[in-house]
């Protein structure tokens, strides 16, 4: 069921309460979940789904998901972390995830930004131009 306007508004308010210095704080999230469980507001399922989306979107902004086809060293991950932290002016933690479909190279995803440096990406770009 799609969330109503009121549900979306409440989810946004709960999400704002979950932030500490602009970052999602686990203890506050736990507090919010506790409040929802205790008071069971209307359309709790839609509310929690909307809240989940907002928190996940925010967390994705502080995480650099590094997809790689071959091995990737810790040094490379730290370099990516540093570069992204500088670029986005917020602490960004790198998380590695193997993805053989990339063939070779890396793909880094921070929030909705994707940095494509893989062979699969280049082949896709090439095929789009042909």
């Amino acid at each position: 069921m799609a969330a109503s306007k009121q549900t979306k508004l409440l989810a946004k308010q709960l999400f704002k309460l979950s932030l500490d210095n602009g970052a999602v704080a686990p203890d506050r999230v736990a507090g919010v979940l506790g409040w929802v469980e205790k008071h069971s507001p209307r359309h709790a399922l839609a509310l929690l789904k909307t809240y989940h989306r907002l928190v996940a979107t925010e967390l994705a902004k502080s995480r650099a998901l590094v997809e790689h086809a071959g091995p990737v060293s810790d040094v490379t991950l730290r370099q990516i972390e540093d570069a992204m932290t500088r670029k986005y002016r917020r602490p960004v933690a790198a998380v590695a995830r193997p993805n053989p479909k990339l063939l070779a190279g890396l793909r880094v995803r921070v929030g909705s930004d994707v940095y494509e440096s893989s062979v699969a990406g280049q082949l896709a770009a090439l095929s789009a131009h042909v």
Partner: protein, 508 residues
């Protein structure tokens, strides 16, 4: 030397491993051609969005946590969770003379099976209208070939003239006649080798129409030899609302190319009522707040920004717009009609009653107006048609009054007789525009009382006979009227001689 090679190789290596940044999002919901997308943090308003399977969308709603996007084309393969990317480009369509004679969709892709469109340039679909400084006042005529319009409600190059009326009153026919007339004038003008001659290219935008109607229009233009000077942008009723919403803007972009390149163009939007309905549909699905008649608040801006793009530019060309609005039961005070009436520089109102009485084109002279006025008329038309509107208004007033009484004085009877003859004279079959010089000659004959002795029921036949006589036997005289564009004493004498000659043959 090898050092230099190494440097180049290093540069190549740097370039080849350079990461490409993309801004992505994922489809949260998709329904009725509208997708709600998560992500796309860098998206711009009206930016093209790339969907899987080469589908394209336009970002129309930028909200705090989602983007509302209309999908152009087939969206049946798209599903929740599909990744989409921004393109950094605004929607553009191909423009140029390569599109003439072609039928394209709202994105400028050919749909006539004649192969790819030959076009090197593209123009953005949405563009800010020309400002005040670059504009020039409308003073050059654009002949429709319809006597009632050219003589009483003249249209100028760069003008916006609304064609309004109920369904089946001949709105599209007037526009098709105008397009055909431009083609005829173009052929004569280009063949004459006159360096000052400025051809008018036409763009016909079909919005929400039946495919059969569009096919009929194309066939009519082709049969009249007008398709080679015309671009047809088709967004039929079967097309999705997003394409119907975009089609007039695409057509305007194609017209702007002619205007920007020092050429003149005419664009017909057939029709803006259906365009507003398509936009209402999109807006309601995007959950924008609705207002009067459930239209969104910016429905006025929807049409004003489109029609403001029609202009005559200083030192360049012009774009003349003929938007069409369909009324319900003659109600011109409805929301969309009043909006477009206030935007345009005049309107031609077509009445169902006149149409049913056999007065075709069913132009209501009392309710029709051209705010440009006689500035967009040649002198010859002004000379012969200056009093017509007043005479017809007098006729209508007296005709209503005369219904209640049987005894009429001679002056009233003369006014009624003359009015009835003018009404008959303006009857004109469809797809048969009349050249301006022939119009001037026929109206001159009317002013000189050559039709007074003809019975009212025979006026149409007499006018046809005079036109045939002039075109077949007095070609040189008509050419002189066209080139001089004014009736001097010499031309009037020649016209008198010709009319006397015709009168003798017609009476027989």
């Amino acid at each position: 030397m090898s050092n230099v090679i190494e440097q180049i190789e290093q540069q190549i290596a740097k370039l080849s491993t350079k990461a490409v940044k993309k801004n992505t999002g994922s489809i949260r919901t998709i329904a009725d051609g509208v997708a709600k997308i998560d992500g796309l943090s860098d998206v711009m308003y009206n930016e093209m969005i790339k969907f899987p399977g080469d589908a394209i969308g336009i970002a129309l709603n930028l909200e705090e946590d989602e983007v509302g996007c209309v999908v152009l084309g087939d969206f049946s393969q798209l599903k929740e969770g599909d990744e989409v990317t921004t393109t950094g480009k605004l929607l553009s369509v191909p423009v140029g003379k390569g599109l003439l004679g072609r039928v394209v969709d709202a994105l400028g892709r050919p749909v006539d099976g004649k192969g790819p469109v030959e076009s090197r340039e593209t123009y953005p679909v949405e563009k800010i209208a020309p400002g005040i400084i670059v504009r020039k006042s409308v003073s050059q005529p654009l002949f429709t070939g319809i006597m009632a319009i050219d003589s009483m409600i003249p249209i100028g190059r760069g003008q916006r003239e609304l064609i309004i009326g109920d369904r089946g009153t001949g709105k599209t026919t007037i526009c098709i006649d105008t397009i055909i007339n431009q083609a005829r004038i173009n052929k004569v003008g280009l063949a004459s080798g006159d360096a000052k001659f400025r051809p008018v290219y036409s763009i016909y935008v079909a919005i929400g129409q039946k495919q059969s109607n569009i096919a009929r229009t194309i066939a009519a233009l082709e049969a009249a030899g007008a398709l080679e000077y015309t671009i047809i942008v088709a967004a039929p009723a079967a097309d999705n609302p997003a394409n119907q919403y975009l089609a007039p803007y695409s057509g305007a972009a194609m017209g702007e190319w002619f205007m920007e390149n020092g050429l003149d163009a005419l664009i017909v939007y057939d029709d803006l009522s259906k365009h507003a309905v398509a936009y209402r549909q999109i807006s309601l699905i995007l959950k924008r707040p609705s207002g009067r008649e459930a239209y969104p608040g910016d429905v006025f801006y929807l049409h004003s920004r489109l029609l403001e793009r029609a202009a005559r530019l200083d030192g360049k060309g012009s774009l003349t717009a003929l938007p069409i609005i369909e009324t319900l039961a003659g109600d011109v005070s409805a929301y969309i009609p009043t909006n477009v009436i206030s935007i345009t520089d005049g309107q031609i109102f077509l009445e169902t009653d006149l149409f049913n009485q056999g007065i075709r084109p069913a132009v209501s002279v009392g309710l029709s107006v051209s705010r440009v006025g006689s500035a967009a008329q040649i002198k010859a038309t002004k000379q012969v048609g200056g009093k017509l509107k007043g005479e017809l208004a007098q006729f209508r007033e007296l005709a209503a009054f005369a219904q209640f009484g049987s005894d009429l004085d001679a002056k009233t009877k003369a006014t009624l007789d003359r009015g009835a003859r003018i009404v008959e004279l303006f009857k004109q079959p469809q797809l048969n525009p009349i050249a301006i010089e022939v119009q001037a000659a026929v109206l001159w004959a009317l002013q000189k009382n050559y039709f007074d002795s003809v019975e009212v029921k025979n006026v149409v036949a007499a006018a046809n006979s005079l036109r045939d006589y002039l075109t077949t036997r007095k070609g040189a005289l008509l050419t002189a009227v066209r080139t001089k564009a004014a009736l001097d004493a010499d031309l009037e004498a020649q016209l008198k001689a010709a009319a006397d000659e015709w009168k003798a043959t017609f009476s027989k």
